[in-house]
Symmetry: C2
Subunit: 386 residues, 2 copies
């Protein structure tokens, strides 16, 4: 065998060649705002041997994912794909593809994710207008109409499930209003998809995105995104290139569409996992899944009340997937969360922004929305608070 | 238990509720341009139970990954992280963070990924200049100096390992040249990190990115990115906000730095996998790993020659991780690749752009760079071609 000269060898810097042991992590029960624990069948699929990202077997799997996402979202949208990133990437994709410099974008800001939409839309040159409510409140149809009539935006962006506050924004009638006033309706469904009733087409929602790690019980790393016909038309009529290569749906659509044009290497194993997570949704059925989330949330709410704790959001606007509880006077929210984690391996989260130190956030999402988890949490919380 | 009213229920659209079987894929040997097969230990780590993305155990794991990435890249750069996307996302991050509208960016275009850098830089408002070579050729130091003197760019972007052509761009001396002419050196190391000699600091490279699914033998879905001090200074001195929220390193750096500020939910399980992949690199040691890639590539090159096939790239510029072979006159490149896949479960790829139909691309990356894989491929190729 001939020996080639390896290019100039420098001395190897060994400083960062650390010795670390085999991966080991404690058995956490993730009852925070996400990620939730992945379903065991999902973790099993995740570790399956790989095929190439243009392999006929992967192409078939891409079709399954797209179909099952349509079911979960209750939409016929052709352009329905998992973005190769986390929920924030799909959030950014929803704006990057539809916003051109100067476009008026009206954002409902009643929590952190509304704020993030404002930040992102601004980076794409939007003329961003804010419709504000206190964190934990939601917008009425009349308030939305007034906002639309005042600002006449090209896009109205709302957060269906505000993960920072636990509030569910009712969407019935909003899509119709947006059509009447000729604007697109963009909806954040990160913490609702697969856990909270959601009818994309029936509610005339033009764009939506989500994450894999909430009510779908798949690890984080993929982010469902869907564009309806009006959003697609807007994409096709752009005067400027999408100002983001990675998230450009005019190119991504060709990879996920019938052309299968190479764009980037899809996260193969994460797509295995997402397919399995969506199979679980289809197997259980949406009505049953939504009812399960609702029933377990009610069990939690009643139990919290019995402990003398108050929920932050009015009952009719509470998310079944994420409950926010007020921290009692004189209690250090962080100490409680840390004790639950260290002594009971249960993760819950605190609030942030205006709710920092004032609330805990408790998620019951997907696989984790089970009666036994509610009982365990209530019992541990009772001990920690006593 | 009180029963809440679930929000307006619409009839469920069952059209997309397809029945699909348990995931099953054939045992492919991935000898294309990536993804390569993940190491079994990596797949095992991938399926480990989850912890939260702000859990102390995850924070410790983030530190391991950063340290081990520094080793693999031979750099002390503090800002060294895995971007939550595939290689293209880190490529985009390298430009998004350092380019402001009007900046001159000089790109060495001698293959597809150079073209992509041109496209991406343009989307961030760069005044993009091209330095061109035929696909499969590389740039000399003199050519680079002439280009830099002519265009006086703020950034020179080169592809160390051109996955579309199999050519290795020598980088010795380029960084020094860039400092002399006051520009940043940005290098694509997607197909070289962990398989091809690479000394980021010794070579004065200011920015580099890679992918998890090539010589690191981890599934696709994470993308290492590193910024040296000069690149960080440029980021801090920006006049404009980074025009990409998801990839904004001024925010991401705070999540991966000592502050641990929430930015987005990191892909937990993919980070488990990447840590294990990097542990394998540190365990083997860079010199041994590079020598293994080189030896197996030489075994392949000699074998191809023995079959009467010619490599596309001059021997001294060939990548040990990716070999391009010329398709003999009268042979249909696609039929050969399809037969290898269908009859032998071996994936290799064809060329594209100006090399479409003219070459095959054969990867020997990470875990897949093994003598037995070379022998199997040569034997299968001989049968298919005869």
């Amino acid at each position: 065998m001939k020996k080639e000269t390896i290019p100039t060898m420098n001395p190897i810097n060994e400083t960062h060649r650390i010795q670390t042991g085999q991966l080991d992590v404690p058995p956490r029960l993730l009852l925070g705002p996400g990620p939730s624990n992945a379903h065991p069948r999902v973790l099993q699929a995740l570790g399956m041997r790989q095929v190439g990202h243009l392999d006929p077997h992967f192409i078939a799997l891409m079709n399954d994912i797209q179909e099952l996402l349509r079911y979960a979202w209750q939409t016929d949208n052709e352009l329905t794909i998992p973005v190769s990133g986390t929920g924030s990437a799909a959030m950014e994709a929803s704006l990057a593809n539809t916003v051109e410099p100067g476009d008026v974008v009206l954002v409902g800001v009643n929590g952190y994710f509304g704020e993030r939409l404002v930040d992102m839309a601004g980076r794409y040159g939007a003329d961003v207008r804010r419709l504000e409510k206190e964190w934990g409140q939601t917008f009425t149809l009349d308030e939305l109409r007034a906002g639309l009539e005042k600002h006449r935006p090209a896009i109205l962006a709302l957060v269906h499930a505000e993960t920072s506050t636990g509030a569910r924004q009712p969407l019935e009638g909003v899509g119709q209003l947006c059509r009447e006033l000729d604007c697109l309706l963009l909806v954040d469904t990160v913490t609702s998809l697969g856990g909270v009733p959601l009818f994309l087409d029936a509610w005339d929602i033009d764009l939506a995105y989500s994450g894999s790690q909430k009510c779908l019980s798949c690890p984080p790393g993929l982010a469902p995104l869907t564009l309806g016909p009006r959003a697609v038309a807007r994409l096709h009529n752009r005067q400027t290139k999408v100002a983001n290569w990675y998230l450009d749906m005019s190119q991504l659509g060709r990879y996920w569409g019938s052309e299968r044009t190479y764009h980037h290497t899809a996260p193969i194993n994460m797509n295995y996992a997402l397919r399995e997570a969506l199979r679980l949704v289809a197997g259980e059925g949406l009505e049953a899944r939504w009812a399960r989330h609702q029933a377990n949330a009610e069990l939690l709410w009643d139990g919290l009340e019995a402990l003398g704790l108050a929920c932050h959001v009015a009952r009719e606007f509470r998310l079944p997937s994420l409950t926010t509880v007020r921290v009692p006077e004189g209690v250090d929210a962080r100490v409680v969360a840390r004790t639950l984690l260290n002594d009971y391996n249960i993760e819950i989260a605190g609030g942030f922004g205006p709710l920092a130190g004032k609330i805990w956030r408790i998620g019951l999402m997907g696989f984790n929305s089970r009666r036994e988890n509610v009982l365990l949490l209530l019992s541990a919380l009772e001990r920690v608070l006593s």
